[in-house]
C-alpha cells in the first residue's frame, strides 16, 4: 500500500471516529438544559434523586441511538447536589435482553466494591477543568466492570460540586468501526489517547491498554511515521490520534 493511500486511510478513520463520538457528545449536550431546569425548579434548588426520573427515556434513547456504540449513559451527581444523597449515579446500561437496565452501584465506603466515581479520572478531569472529555480506555471496576471509554460533559448546578453527564463507549464496537475503516494490516495503525495508551489498533503487539508514550508532539513524531488528530467540533474534547507506527 502506498504512503498516500495509508495517509488517506488514517485521515478518514480519524474523521469517522470523530464524527461518531461527536454525535454522542451532541446527544449528551442536548440533555443539559433539562437537567439544569430540574435542578433550578427544586425547593432550595436542591433536587432529589427522583426528580430526574422523567429524563430516563432520554438517557435510554442515547443508548439506543448509536448502533451499539453506547453501552450506557447517565448522570453522575457532584457532592451535595442532591438533597437526598451525597453521591448518586442515575445511570442506564444495555441489559442482557437488549433492553435498558438501571445500573446499581455501591456507595458504601466500607465495601470493596465501593464505586468512588468522584476519585475516577472520567469524572474528576472534566468536572475540574469544566471541559467535556473522552476518557479511557480504563477498567471500570465496581462500575460496568468492563474496559471502556467514557465521554463526559461537566455541568454546574446552583448548589453542590460540579456534576457530569456521561456515556460509556463500548470498546468492541469502537474497535470494529476502527478496523473496518482501516481495513488493512500492511502497517500497524493505532488509535492512541492523550496519555499514550492504545484505544484500539490493527496489531496484536499494541492491543487495547498498551502504554506507548505520552502524546506530546515530539513523542508522537518519534512514534509515528504519519499521524493525525481525531477531529471534533469542540477542540480538545477527543484528545486522540490515529497514527502509523514506525517500523522496528
Amino acid at each position: 500500500m502506498s504512503p498516500e493511500q495509508l495517509s488517506r486511510i488514517i485521515r478518514t478513520t480519524a474523521e469517522l471516529i470523530g464524527t461518531r463520538l461527536d454525535a454522542v457528545f451532541d446527544d449528551l449536550n442536548s440533555l443539559l438544559p433539562d437537567i439544569v431546569r430540574i435542578a433550578e425548579d427544586a425547593p432550595d434548588r436542591r433536587p432529589a434523586k427522583a426528580d430526574f426520573e422523567p429524563l430516563r427515556p432520554q438517557l435510554q434513547a442515547i443508548i439506543a441511538r448509536h448502533e451499539g456504540l453506547v453501552d450506557g449513559a447517565g448522570i453522575a451527581f457532584g457532592q451535595d447536589v442532591l438533597r437526598d444523597a451525597a453521591s448518586w449515579l442515575e445511570w442506564w446500561r444495555v441489559g442482557h435482553g437488549g433492553e435498558p437496565e438501571f445500573a446499581a452501584h455501591v456507595f458504601n465506603p466500607d465495601s470493596i466494591r465501593y464505586y468512588d466515581y468522584s476519585a475516577m479520572s472520567w469524572f474528576q478531569l472534566p468536572t475540574t477543568s469544566g471541559h467535556s472529555l473522552a476518557m479511557g480506555p480504563y477498567i471500570d471496576s465496581g462500575g460496568t466492570d468492563l474496559n471502556i471509554v467514557t465521554l463526559a460533559v461537566p455541568f454546574q448546578t446552583a448548589e453542590g460540586s460540579p456534576s457530569a453527564l456521561g456515556a460509556d463507549i463500548c470498546l468492541p464496537v469502537l474497535a470494529s468501526i476502527f478496523l473496518k475503516s482501516v481495513a488493512s494490516r500492511d502497517r500497524a495503525v493505532v488509535l492512541l489517547n492523550d496519555g499514550g495508551r492504545v484505544v484500539t489498533s490493527n496489531t496484536a503487539r499494541h492491543s487495547t491498554g498498551t502504554l506507548l508514550s505520552a502524546a506530546d508532539t515530539s513523542a508522537l513524531a518519534a512514534l509515528f511515521e504519519d499521524y493525525v488528530p481525531v477531529p471534533s467540533a469542540v477542540p480538545g474534547r477527543i484528545p486522540w490520534h490515529v497514527g502509523i507506527l514506525k517500523v522496528g
Binding site: 466500607d110 465495601s111 466494591r113 465501593y114 477498567i139 487495547t208 491498554g209 502504554l211
Partner: protein
C-alpha cells in the same frame, strides 16, 4: 458482583454448605454488604453455577444464621441482613475447618494471579493508576483493625488489576480476595506484620513505577507466598497445639 464469586469448587458433598460459606466470606470482606439485595433465586443459582435446590438450601442455612432475610411483596426478595458481619470467633472457626492443602492451593492461586497482575501493571499503569494504588496502599498502612486491613488490602490489590488494564485479572483478583481476605489477620494484626505487608506493597508499586516487569512479577508473587506461608503456619500451630472445639 455475584458472578465474581464463582470459582468456588462446585462439586462433591456439602455443596450448599460451601456456597453459604462463600457468600459468608463475601460478606466478611465487604464484597456483599448490609442491605444488598440478592438477585432472584434462579439468576443467583445460574451465576454461582449451582442448581436452584442447592441454592435454596444455602439461603435457608444463611437465614437461620441471620445473614439473609427475605421480605415479601413488591420490592421484596432476599437481602443481606445487618447482622452479617462475621465475628473474629466465627472467622477463626471457619479457618480451623480448612485443610493445609486447601490453604496452600489458595495461596498458589493468589501468588500466580498477583504475579501476572504485577507484570502487566508494570507495562501498562499510567500516573493516575499509580496514584490511585498508592493512595490505597497508604490507607492500608494506616488501617488499625483487622476488618479495615482486610478491606484496604483487597482494594489495593484490586486496584493493581485495574492498573494492569485487565478486566479478567481484576475479576480473578476479586475472586481470590473474596476467599482469602476472610482468612487474613484473624490471628490479630501485629504492627510488625502490617509493616512487612505495607513495605512489600510499596516495593511492588516502586517496581511498577520504574516499569520493571520482572521485579513487579517476582515481588507480587513473593508477597502472597509469604502471606500464605504465615497463614499456613498459623493453621498448623492451631492444629497441633490447641484441642478442636466440640
Amino acid at each position: 458482583m455475584i458472578a465474581q464469586l464463582r470459582g468456588v469448587d462446585a462439586s462433591g458433598a456439602g455443596l450448599s454448605d460451601r456456597i453459604s460459606r462463600q457468600l459468608e466470606s463475601a460478606i466478611a470482606v465487604g464484597l456483599l454488604n448490609d442491605g444488598d439485595k440478592l438477585p432472584p433465586e434462579n439468576v443467583l443459582a445460574e451465576q454461582l453455577g449451582v442448581s436452584s435446590i442447592t441454592l435454596r438450601q444455602s439461603l435457608a442455612e444463611m437465614r437461620l444464621k441471620g445473614l439473609v432475610e427475605t421480605r415479601r411483596g413488591r420490592g421484596g426478595g432476599s437481602f443481606i441482613s445487618g447482622k452479617a458481619l462475621a465475628t473474629p470467633e466465627q472467622l477463626l472457626s471457619e479457618f480451623r475447618r480448612r485443610s493445609p492443602e486447601d490453604l496452600r492451593d489458595l495461596g498458589d492461586l493468589a501468588a500466580t494471579v498477583a504475579a501476572g497482575v504485577g507484570r502487566r501493571a508494570a507495562l501498562r499503569a499510567d500516573e493516575q493508576d499509580l496514584r490511585r494504588s498508592r493512595e490505597l496502599a497508604d490507607r492500608f498502612a494506616r488501617a488499625s483493625t483487622a476488618e479495615e486491613l482486610r478491606r484496604t488490602d483487597s482494594r489495593f490489590h484490586i486496584s493493581l488489576g485495574v492498573a494492569a488494564q485487565s478486566r479478567r485479572l481484576t475479576n480473578a483478583t476479586i475472586q481470590v480476595h473474596s476467599e482469602l481476605a476472610a482468612l487474613m489477620w484473624i490471628a490479630g494484626p501485629s504492627a510488625g506484620s502490617v509493616k512487612t505487608a505495607s513495605e512489600e506493597h510499596d516495593a511492588i508499586l516502586d517496581a511498577i513505577e520504574r516499569r520493571d516487569e520482572e521485579a513487579a512479577d517476582r515481588l507480587s508473587a513473593a508477597h502472597f507466598e509469604r502471606e500464605s506461608e504465615t497463614l499456613l503456619d498459623f493453621f498448623l500451630e492451631l492444629a497441633t497445639t490447641t484441642p478442636e472445639e466440640a
